[in-house]
């Protein structure tokens, strides 16, 4: 008891040299925190009070949220140049927020739950599941079409629901998905990845050289796109054009067998833990010989390692038994929520953005292709003029965009069931299970066909299919 009392009544520790004691630090910190609570908690942010256009009160406000573009220059151009000019011309203060691509679903769910948020919400895949929460974007599509002609079929199929006759999103761009390959490595074995058969033939040799093929089979975007595109090249589809599930087919079994062989002969087990960054990192580290990816690989290499960049070339998706049917890598799709506060200016913003898309196309370094091709004049010449080595490297993107880029769910629409299958990564899961011998190809095709039918039926019951 005496000891306890002495402990509690212990005087402040005297520190030689007049240094502050622990207690003093805590006391001061406590006082500081109270100041913070009082002064900091209620302020939106200090920057929020700074007027965007000095000396002039803008009449309206428009709030946009979109991904942090992989080309930082695009965000700088969009936030600091385009949006400011548009805002001044339209007497509107435009506030742009950026989020990580993987957080888009969580943020969208939060805004819908709150029935409050941004006037324009940007998705990177067609968000059919949110159809009931968004306005019909038909009049925006019509206004742009009036000025710029026909919309790309893939953009139409990705944003339109034929059952409800509603545009549930507005696509401003899509991103072609080429094959990226190392010319030096493929040159050594005297081959070029123009068909999946050649890829399989080259795979063991490339892996023996220490440079495997890198096509993911995990729960992430790149794996989704690559596997779905590979399926289409073999004539395997999730649905037909009447939106009926047709997965369980001999073509699906064939593509599953092919992917299993490709993994066994020419890839490493890293592909089961693939992330969106894996293609880029492994390519930049000089490890991969082939990946299916948008141009971020080559653009990053141009900045970091020009010598390596000069050895990377682009090709359309390799040809399969049923053709070269590729997918967009990502699809830019803006939505205007029903609860958006400034629908009028949101619509005008989209019309203006799309009808003059040259700035977006150029500043994204040809990542964003316009959903209305006429919105960017002379695309081919612009691609040819790119200074990257080898000369004309990006010219092929025009051909890929025109001939080898389709919407998820092709030959049908990118409906809510496709959206769910896409966002739950069921396709790469199916491939991974077969590659890891957890299921036979036949068994996997049957099992996933059943799953997909349940998903389609769920959305059919909700009258969205």
């Amino acid at each position: 008891m005496a000891d306890d009392s002495r402990h509690t009544d212990r005087p402040e520790e005297e520190v030689p040299g007049g240094r502050t004691t622990r207690r003093e630090i805590l006391r001061k910190a406590g006082a500081g925190s109270l100041l913070v609570v009082y002064g900091g908690a209620t302020a939106k942010t200090s920057a929020a009070a700074v007027p965007q256009f000095r000396g002039r009160q803008l009449k309206e406000t428009l709030r946009i949220v979109q991904w942090s573009h992989f080309v930082p220059a695009y965000d700088k151009w969009f936030d600091n140049v385009y949006v400011k000019r548009w805002g001044q011309a339209n007497d509107t203060e435009v506030l742009v927020d950026h989020i990580n691509v993987t957080d888009i679903p969580a943020r969208a769910a939060a805004e819908v739950a709150a029935q409050s948020g941004h006037d324009l919400f940007f998705f990177l895949s067609p968000p059919a599941a949110y159809e009931d929460q968004v306005i019909d974007h038909k009049d925006i599509v019509q206004q742009v079409s009036k000025k710029r002609g026909k919309m790309k079929d893939l953009a139409h199929k990705a944003t339109y629901n034929p059952r409800t006759k509603k545009y549930f999103a507005f696509s401003d761009n899509y991103v072609p998905d080429p094959a990226n390959y190392r010319t030096d490595l493929w040159g050594e074995i005297g081959l070029k990845p123009t068909s999946w058969d050649i890829v399989l033939k080259a795979a063991p040799k490339l892996r023996a050289m220490g440079n495997p093929i890198g096509i993911g089979m995990s729960n992430e975007l790149d794996s989704n796109m690559a596997m779905m595109a590979m399926m289409m090249c073999f004539g395997s589809f999730i649905q037909n054009k009447d939106q009926r599930v047709v997965l369980n087919s001999k073509e699906t079994v064939a593509v599953l067998k092919f992917a299993r062989e490709l993994y066994r002969q020419g890839m490493s087990n890293e592909i089961f833990a693939w992330t969106p960054a894996s293609n880029n990192q492994a390519f930049l580290a000089g490890r991969l010989s082939l990946a299916m990816n948008a141009i971020s690989i080559t653009r990053s290499a141009e900045l970091l390692n020009p010598e390596l960049a000069a050895k990377i070339e682009l090709l359309p998706i390799p040809k399969g038994p049923r053709g070269q049917l590729g997918l967009e890598h990502v699809m830019g799709a803006y939505v205007i929520w029903k609860f958006a506060k400034n629908k009028r200016m949101a619509k005008k913003f989209l019309v203006d953005l799309e009808t003059k898309y040259i700035g977006a196309f150029e500043n994204s370094k040809f990542y964003n292709f316009p959903s209305w091709p006429a919105s960017v004049s002379n695309i081919k010449r612009r691609l040819e003029r790119d200074p990257a080595k080898p000369a004309g490297k990006y010219t092929i993107l025009g051909e890929i965009a025109d001939k080898h880029t389709l919407n998820p769910g092709w030959p049908g629409y990118s409906n809510a069931a496709i959206d769910e299958i896409f966002n739950t990564f069921l396709i790469p899961q199916m491939f991974a299970e077969v590659a890891q011998d957890k299921r036979t190809p036949e068994d996997a095709a049957r099992a996933y066909d059943r799953k997909f039918r349940e998903i389609f039926q769920k959305w059919r019951n909700q009258k969205k299919l």
């Binding site: 008891m1 306890d4 805590l26 925190s33 942010t45 989020i99 943020r107 739950a113 990816n293």
Partner: protein, 279 residues
């Protein structure tokens, strides 16, 4: 071999590997943050050596000149301090009440309170989004200051409850006999003795705030209102391109003061988690 030297050697053999394993992430962060982008992808130089263009402070320069990192740090500190203050104000009397005044219900209530802490934010962020919108706090730091105590207070109360229980009742009774009110006894006797427990709550609450991600990403999208955990994630990961050097620099900077804080109060922190100094 003398007994003491043998004990020392044994200690080093046990502690040494742990120390290396625990320190390695910090070393990795530091080394990566000092590497040039080109060197980062040179696998021959991973993890122990530097190559072309390294070491460099470019990643730190980028962080402070091309992003709003300083603002995110400030926001994190603001939120952390505010939540610590709220948590202490609520959980200290609550923990005391549960320890002393609630009788046989105290224990059950304490366990119930702790169970609230276990409800994951991934379940709560959707309904809470509605609440935040209703009270008009979207994109404000105040939204986090409002929500974070929801998980810090239950844990802090539960922790302090255990700590207060370890303080002999006789101390308070002596104060009451001497004419002090219960509040005065609490402030003058119980709280000063409980400093290790309170420090534990401060450090733990602050760490929880710095680490929290789901609410921060769901409630705040404005770049200048972000906290460190979401700011670096959204601005230094662009699509499939990761700015690893800047990411590591950005995570290393806040981890240093936290590590120093833990070390400075390590003895009291241990005492706080193990139930007080009276055992």
């Amino acid at each position: 071999m003398p007994l003491r030297r043998r004990d020392n050697l044994l200690n080093w053999l046990v502690v040494g590997p742990f120390a290396i394993v625990l320190a390695f992430p910090f070393y990795w962060m530091l080394q990566t943050s000092l590497k040039s982008e080109l060197d980062l992808y040179n696998t021959e130089n991973v993890p122990f050596s530097f190559g072309e263009g390294s070491p460099t402070l470019d990643n730190y320069r980028f962080l402070f000149s091309d992003t709003q990192y300083a603002q995110w740090l400030l926001n994190t500190v603001l939120v952390g301090l505010a939540v610590v203050a709220i948590t202490l104000v609520v959980s200290m009397p609550a923990g005391y009440a549960l320890a002393r005044l609630s009788g046989r219900w105290g224990q059950s209530l304490g366990v119930g309170l702790f169970l609230v802490y276990l409800v994951p934010p991934t379940l709560l962020f959707l309904p809470l989004s509605r609440v935040i919108a209703e009270v008009g706090l979207q994109d404000r730091l105040a939204s986090l200051i409002l929500v974070y105590p929801g998980f810090t207070i239950p844990f802090a109360t539960w922790l302090l409850m255990g700590f207060f229980k370890s303080i002999p009742r006789e101390l308070e009774e002596a104060a009451l006999v001497d004419g002090a009110s219960r509040l005065r006894a609490l402030i003058r006797i119980v709280f000063p003795i409980s400093l290790p427990g309170i420090l534990t709550v401060v450090i733990f609450t602050f760490s929880l705030c710095v680490n929290e991600f789901v609410y921060a990403i769901a409630f705040i999208t404005r770049s200048d209102s972000k906290v460190v955990s979401t700011g670096i994630y959204t601005e230094l990961i662009r699509g499939d391109v990761f700015y690893w050097g800047a990411l590591m620099a950005a995570t290393l900077i806040p981890s240093i003061p936290l590590a120093l804080l833990y070390n400075t109060f390590l003895d009291r922190f241990i005492a706080g988690f193990t139930g007080g100094a009276f055992r």
